[in-house]
């Protein structure tokens, strides 16, 4: 019967399609590894950028990325989780919540470069924060806010309504229900969303470029911890900075092949980091699915 052959044919087509995607990814990874791995040594991580390709490193880039991520997480996580909780557990159906809802869906789809324009107009000039770590962190925080909110909502939504009703039926208040049930049961899902959001933020280039981050930074921001009281300092927030993807972009744009190897090396580190974070998130989600069966 010929209709049974369709199955075999389509299965083959499917595998081919899958191979195209997966093989492209592998090629990319191998290609970058081949070009970049020779440059990856201790020196590469502890050196500032340089005009000489072989002496250049990514010290200022990874420190900058780390600090920006700190700021991003500091703002995006509490805000994202709180709004997710509000929308799922508190909001009553009204035009305000409808608005917030559509708005978040839309924000999730706004191109990252538009966030860059927002930051340029608002943070850099209007608020006068300049081209600082704080500006970048805030920008990326807004960028991944929808990711965190959506992940939080999905995680919360997967908790069956009967669990909530069970809690309320025992006389619990809304906040008690959230604290004792909603948050604990959705925490793994929320964490997954946060990690994925951070992985996205760490690789974002366009908005950082738009706010005008410098590409050639041969110094580190002021240290957050000091020897003398008050021991902590927030000066680093206002410091100029660079981040990994910008460093890579910079090297990619150079015509010399040696810099392009640097780009490959930086790219390799970047891909490795994002893959590790994504992998962690995927593993978390897998465990989550295995542990909780509503």
């Amino acid at each position: 019967m010929h209709r049974k052959h369709q199955d075999v044919v389509f299965a083959l087509v499917g595998i081919v399609a899958l191979m195209v995607a997966v093989l492209t990814f592998l090629t990319l990874f191998v290609n970058m590894a081949v070009d970049g791995l020779p440059r990856l040594d201790w020196h590469f991580f502890t050196s500032f950028p340089s005009r000489r390709a072989t002496q250049a490193g990514i010290l200022s880039a990874w420190v900058g990325s780390t600090l920006v991520m700190l700021v991003t997480a500091f703002f995006a996580v509490p805000l994202g989780v709180a709004s997710g909780i509000y929308l799922e557990e508190y909001a009553r159906k009204s035009w305000v919540t409808d608005l917030i809802e559509i708005n978040i869906t839309n924000l999730a789809g706004v191109p990252s470069i538009v966030y860059g324009l927002l930051a340029l107009g608002l943070f850099v000039y209007q608020f006068g924060l300049g081209q600082s770590i704080l500006s970048a962190g805030l920008t990326l925080a807004l960028l991944i806010l929808p990711v965190v909110i959506v992940a939080t909502r999905e995680a919360i939504r997967s908790i069956p309504q009967v669990i909530r009703e069970g809690s309320y039926a025992l006389g619990a208040t809304r906040w008690q229900t959230v604290r004792y049930h909603i948050l604990p049961y959705s925490s793994a899902g929320i964490l997954t969303g946060i990690i994925i959001g951070m992985a996205r933020a760490i690789g974002e280039t366009a908005p950082i470029i738009t706010i005008g981050a410098l590409t050639f930074i041969a110094f580190l921001p002021p240290a957050p911890l000091k020897a003398e009281p008050p021991f902590v300092s927030f000066d680093w927030l206002m410091s100029p900075f660079t981040v990994m993807p910008i460093q890579m972009f910079n090297w990619t744009s150079r015509p010399e092949a040696a810099f392009q190897d640097n780009a490959a090396a930086a790219g390799f580190v970047l891909v490795f980091m994002t893959l590790a974070m994504n992998g962690l998130a995927i593993w978390l989600r897998y465990r989550l699915r295995r542990n909780i069966k509503w």
Partner: protein
């Protein structure tokens, strides 16, 4: 029972009840303000884009902006024809979608309906990682691997071109299309599939006649998300597509997209408040409106899909 009565009316209880009310109310207000941040963000985006664009359109008539066939904002003889940037954007997006939609759909159907469980569990994370790779890395790949490769086949291909950028962008978008499509197909209840198989249908018949139609609005919203991604994608094009404005629909040529133009301007040293500075906001507004339309359409479709089950 007497205890319950006392519990309802005892003064100590009343006090604790008031405390409870206040605490609950406070928490709700805090959470509400957190949720409001996202609205504030949108308002801020619109405010910034519109504010600068208004200044821009005071100097450049909207008519010129829409009809002029040149984009030379930084020349002395400045032209502001957005069509030029749009052509690059549309061409690269078209190439990307020509790759992503067929492949993404086939992969989704294959994974959801054909692949053995183990293969699916292995492949899905790999695909998701594909979507997690920073776009600058894809840009690097397009410029330094795909373009040289293509040049071996097409010797005349310029170093910067929309084709290789579009192809790589297509690969990048596959996971978005395939994973949302697959989710939509997975959400089709097993009972429907079993119903079809029980009627004597083959896998292919079940997939194409029952599962895909049932998941259609979900799949459509995946496509729309893909379009929105392609249009908004920046770094691949900035790196591999070339940055010079070029009114063309030929993917073999280099051309600037809206996003690439913004990057180009941002990299330069444009003074705050100049017309050049304002052009990027006008371009950004165009981009924003386009993706907004896509997102709303996708939202509506997804919502309809959710309601079906």
């Amino acid at each position: 029972m007497a205890k319950a009565t006392a519990a309802l009316h005892g003064t100590a209880y009343l006090a604790s009840r008031r405390a409870r009310h206040i605490r609950e109310r406070l928490i709700e207000v805090l959470l509400f303000f957190a949720a409001l941040i996202s609205v504030v963000t949108t308002v801020a985006i619109v405010y910034v884009l519109v504010k600068e664009s208004v200044v821009f359109f005071e100097q450049v008539p909207l008519r010129d902006f829409l009809t002029d066939r040149q984009w030379t904002p930084l020349f002395d003889d400045a032209h502001f024809g957005i069509v030029v940037l749009l052509s690059g954007t549309l061409t690269s997006s078209f190439v990307a979608l020509a790759v992503a939609i067929p492949l993404g759909t086939i992969i989704a159907i294959y994974l959801s309906e054909f692949a053995p469980y183990r293969l699916r569990e292995m492949v899905k994370p790999v695909l998701e990682m594909l979507g997690g790779v920073p776009t600058i890395v894809y840009g690097y790949f397009a410029l330094l691997f795909v373009t040289p490769l293509l040049q071996k086949v097409m010797p005349g291909l310029p170093g910067f071109n929309l084709l290789s950028a579009g192809l790589v962008m297509g690969i990048m978008i596959i996971p978005y299309v395939s994973s949302i499509s697959e989710d939509a197909m997975r959400a089709v209840p097993m009972a429907l599939r079993e119903g079809s198989y029980a009627m004597g249908a083959t896998r292919f018949q079940t997939a194409t006649r029952v599962v895909v139609p049932a998941a259609f609005s979900g799949i459509a919203s995946a496509y729309i998300l893909g379009i929105s991604r392609a249009v908004g994608e920046t770094m691949i094009l900035a790196v591999a597509g070339g940055m010079q404005p070029n009114l063309t629909f030929n993917p073999l040529e280099p051309a600037a997209t809206i996003t690439a133009y913004i990057v180009q301007v941002a990299l330069g040293d444009l003074p705050h408040g100049s017309v050049g500075y304002q052009t990027i906001f006008a371009a950004g507004l165009t981009l924003m409106l386009f993706t907004l339309a896509c997102n709303l359409a996708g939202h509506v479709l997804r919502k309809r899909f959710r309601e079906a089950y």
